[in-house]
């Protein structure tokens, strides 16, 4: 299960890519003073740890608050102050708090991670974290992810894995006598069963819209992809290939003809709602959506919705970036890093982490939770299938500093380009050229 790690809302890809920056950052642990790691909170002299989450939501925020109260009760003098902005506000709020040096623990997803590491705003916690109880029970892959290309430095502790899979309204396809789509072309062809306010594809047009383009381009190019996931095997940018052009032309047709027009403004919550309300019958999303669909539509066991692998291309392949969906980091400016790490140690241990993974529906990072049968049956069983499928390629989200910098610089523009594509302000050719210039150039690849 732990190997199924995938980027979440595409923003998570950046977070993972950015780990690579650890290797070149010269500002982290060397700047951390012994004083920052030796706070001794007491009732008389309490210490407040300010913590901000990126993916706040009803399934995880109350749980984190409960952990905070438990930890405070067990550690007199420690106060955990959890800040939970809406996901739309998270990037700005987190960057502002980092800039103001007014935060201890953060969940730096999206482009924040890379920029924060480059700016020396995150602490290297490797020496202290490796001595914790939590570290001992992390899955080998989580440990590997934490340190891969970081030359022994650790800037974040994974808090859950996300894998992209397809959520499909099986009842609707069955009623129309149509098989569940297996390819992107199938999705387009299924438009014939659309009815008023019942579309096929839950397109993402707002934040992280570019992830949709990546899925289809990868599916059309695979297996001709090198380890970067952004180049073909001969080192050519994936965005400057004829396959990418074909893929994007098809995606635009799907968007215009097989998805609701409103999806141009759909981000994560809207596309999930679009699925469980029946407006869209095919949704590509992360594992935590299982719980949302079960709560808002009906239990998986009833059989009216099912899970499938993400759609494949003409050669029968698909691909996903692999990376930790969320992670906790400690700010370099934190004055009591040992207290902050103490709390992270606590929530990364079981049973806390196991409860978090179950409640929020993310892939577990600890060995105990990973062996929990809960994550191997029902809707979750699709992830074993994905994991075992050699034709669903998994790219490491961990990239070198050059690509991280390019990605960080262009990240916001990618989504704006997708919206312009929909409104006709950009053609697919222009979009691909821009992306090839921004992400595909030689000095972006490590």
């Amino acid at each position: 299960m732990s190997k199924l790690i995938t980027s979440r809302k595409a923003a998570a890809v950046i977070a993972s890519l950015a780990i690579a920056f650890a290797g070149i950052s010269a500002t982290s642990s060397s700047a951390a003073t012994a004083k920052d790691w030796s706070c001794k909170p007491t009732k008389a002299k309490p210490v407040t740890v300010r913590m901000i989450e990126y993916f706040a939501g009803p399934a995880r925020t109350p749980l984190l608050n409960a952990f905070a109260r438990q930890y405070e009760a067990a550690n007199p003098g420690v106060k955990i102050d959890l800040i939970s902005p809406s996901q739309a506000d998270s990037p700005a709020k987190i960057t502002q708090l980092l800039q103001a040096k007014n935060i201890d623990i953060l969940e730096p997803a999206g482009a924040i991670y890379s920029q924060a590491v480059v700016a020396g705003q995150l602490a290297d916690i490797a020496p202290q974290f490796k001595k914790t109880k939590a570290y001992k029970f992390l899955t080998p892959y989580t440990k590997e992810m934490a340190e891969q290309t970081t030359k022994g430095k650790i800037y974040g502790i994974g808090n859950g894995y996300y894998t992209k899979a397809s959520f499909v309204r099986a009842d609707r396809f069955k009623a129309a006598g149509l098989a569940i789509p297996k390819t992107w072309q199938d999705i387009y062809d299924a438009k014939k069963i659309q009815k008023d306010n019942e579309y096929i594809y839950a397109m993402r047009g707002a934040a992280a819209a570019h992830s949709q383009a990546f899925f289809i381009i990868h599916a059309y190019l695979a297996p001709n992809l090198n380890v970067t996931g952004l180049q073909t095997k001969d080192g050519k940018s994936i965005f400057s290939t004829p396959e990418a052009q074909t893929a994007m032309d098809l995606l635009l047709k799907i968007w215009k003809e097989a998805a609701p027009a409103a999806s141009v403004a759909w981000g994560y919550p809207e596309m999930v709602k679009g699925f469980h309300t029946g407006v869209a019958n095919y949704l590509i999303q992360d594992n935590e959506v299982i719980q949302i669909v079960e709560e808002n539509f009906e239990p998986y066991a009833k059989g009216n919705w099912t899970m499938a692998q993400i759609p494949k291309g003409p050669k029968g392949y698909s691909a996903q970036f692999i990376g930790a969906g969320g992670l906790w980091s400690i700010a370099q400016a934190s004055k009591c890093k040992n207290v902050a790490l103490g709390f992270l140690d606590f929530i990364t241990q079981d049973p806390q982490h196991s409860a978090f993974a179950r409640a929020y529906g993310v892939g577990p990072v600890t060995t105990t939770a990973a062996n929990d049968p809960f994550f191997k049956k029902g809707a979750w069983s699709i992830y074993s299938k994905i994991n075992a499928d050699p034709k669903e390629l998994k790219f490491s989200g961990v990239r070198g500093p050059k690509l991280t910098a390019c990605y960080g610089a262009i990240y916001g523009q990618l989504d704006k380009d997708m919206a312009k594509l929909y409104t006709g302000d950009l053609t697919t050719t222009q979009l691909l050229k821009g992306w090839a210039d921004g992400l595909g150039k030689a000095d972006c690849i490590d």
Binding site: L98, A111, A261, S263, V264, A265, T277, K420, T423
Partner: protein, 307 residues
């Protein structure tokens, strides 16, 4: 002699005490204004001339007029200016016209006028952003009540993508803004109407003026100064009112419903480009300064005319 020498000294002391008291009362307000108004303005001016992007923190520094050049050369700039113009003037026109009509109706006494007044004033008491979310739901293509109602009434035969089609998007946000801002005009115009002397209206009636003539020849000229002031005030406020747009479309699709102030928020939050956002803020200040000049000129003209 002693008394005469003592008296000015006591007066001076009393005057000093009064001055100190006044200072003591004024200081908190002055400090608040300095901290929350002047400092942010000065900081905005500074940031407007800096490359200050939170995602590019290693390259923060002065960059002259580059932020302004970037904004003007941005492909969205023309659309943003055009949208701002539409947003302000179309909204104000309808807010004023409907507001005036409602104020005239509310001046007439009828049954349940209190309830009616209460309902009219509700929008003004609500948050603009919150109302934006409510209107977003109303206009939603799939889940919205508007499309449902229009379909059931047979007015349309397919759903209108109100917020995702650039052609409809601007109309939708302006409709919401008209609804939101009518109340302001009702309140202000009603207050002005209540100030029109009954004698003037009676005199007009005795002179044989009909309602139309009374309105345009007596009432409007009498409250003209108020009307000019509230229209200009509203123009300034609406220019700086991104709440509804941010709640409804966030400026989308593809920036097609951005006005200058919502674009500023996008620069600040999504792009984390504080330099560009500050430059945009400064440009807005200049635009509003021009309106302020009109505002001052208008009030001066009214004063001079002795109305």
């Amino acid at each position: 002699m002693t008394a005469t020498m003592y008296q000015p000294s006591r007066k001076r002391a009393a005057s000093t005490t009064r001055m100190l008291k006044a200072l003591a009362f004024l200081t908190p307000a002055a400090v608040m204004i300095l901290v929350f108004v002047f400092y942010p303005v000065l900081r905005t001016v500074q940031l407007g001339f800096q490359n200050f992007n939170l995602f590019d923190q290693l390259n923060i520094g002065y960059n002259g007029l580059q932020n302004f050049r970037n904004l003007i050369n941005d492909p969205n700039f023309g659309t943003v200016i055009k949208n701002t113009f539409l947003w302000v003037f179309v909204s104000v026109f309808f807010q004023f016209t409907i507001g005036f009509g409602l104020a005239l109706l509310m001046k007439t006494k009828f049954k349940f006028i209190g309830i009616y007044q209460g309902l009219i004033f509700i929008p003004w008491a609500l948050s603009g952003f919150l109302m934006g979310l409510v209107w977003k739901w109303i206009f939603d293509e799939s889940f919205g009540v508007l499309n449902d109602a229009l379909l059931k009434l047979g007015i349309i035969d397919s759903r209108i993508p109100w917020l995702s089609d650039a052609r409809w998007g601007m109309a939708a946000v302006i409709i919401a803004n008209v609804w939101y801002g009518v109340t302001f005009f009702v309140i202000m115009i009603l207050a002005a109407l209540q100030g029109v002397p009954k004698e003037m209206l009676e005199a007009a009636e005795l002179d044989g003026a009909n309602r139309f003539q009374t309105l345009f020849s007596v009432i409007i000229p009498y409250i003209r100064a108020t009307l000019i002031l509230i229209v200009l005030l509203r123009i300034m406020w609406i220019t700086n009112f991104p709440d509804l747009i941010f709640g409804m479309t966030q400026g989308g699709p593809a920036g097609r419903t951005h006005i200058i102030s919502s674009w500023l928020i996008e620069k600040l939050t999504l792009d984390a480009d504080w330099g560009a956002a500050s430059a945009l803020g400064l440009m807005t200040m200049v635009i509003l300064f021009v309106f302020t000049l009109f505002y001052l000129m208008a009030t001066r003209l009214e004063k001079d005319s002795g109305v």
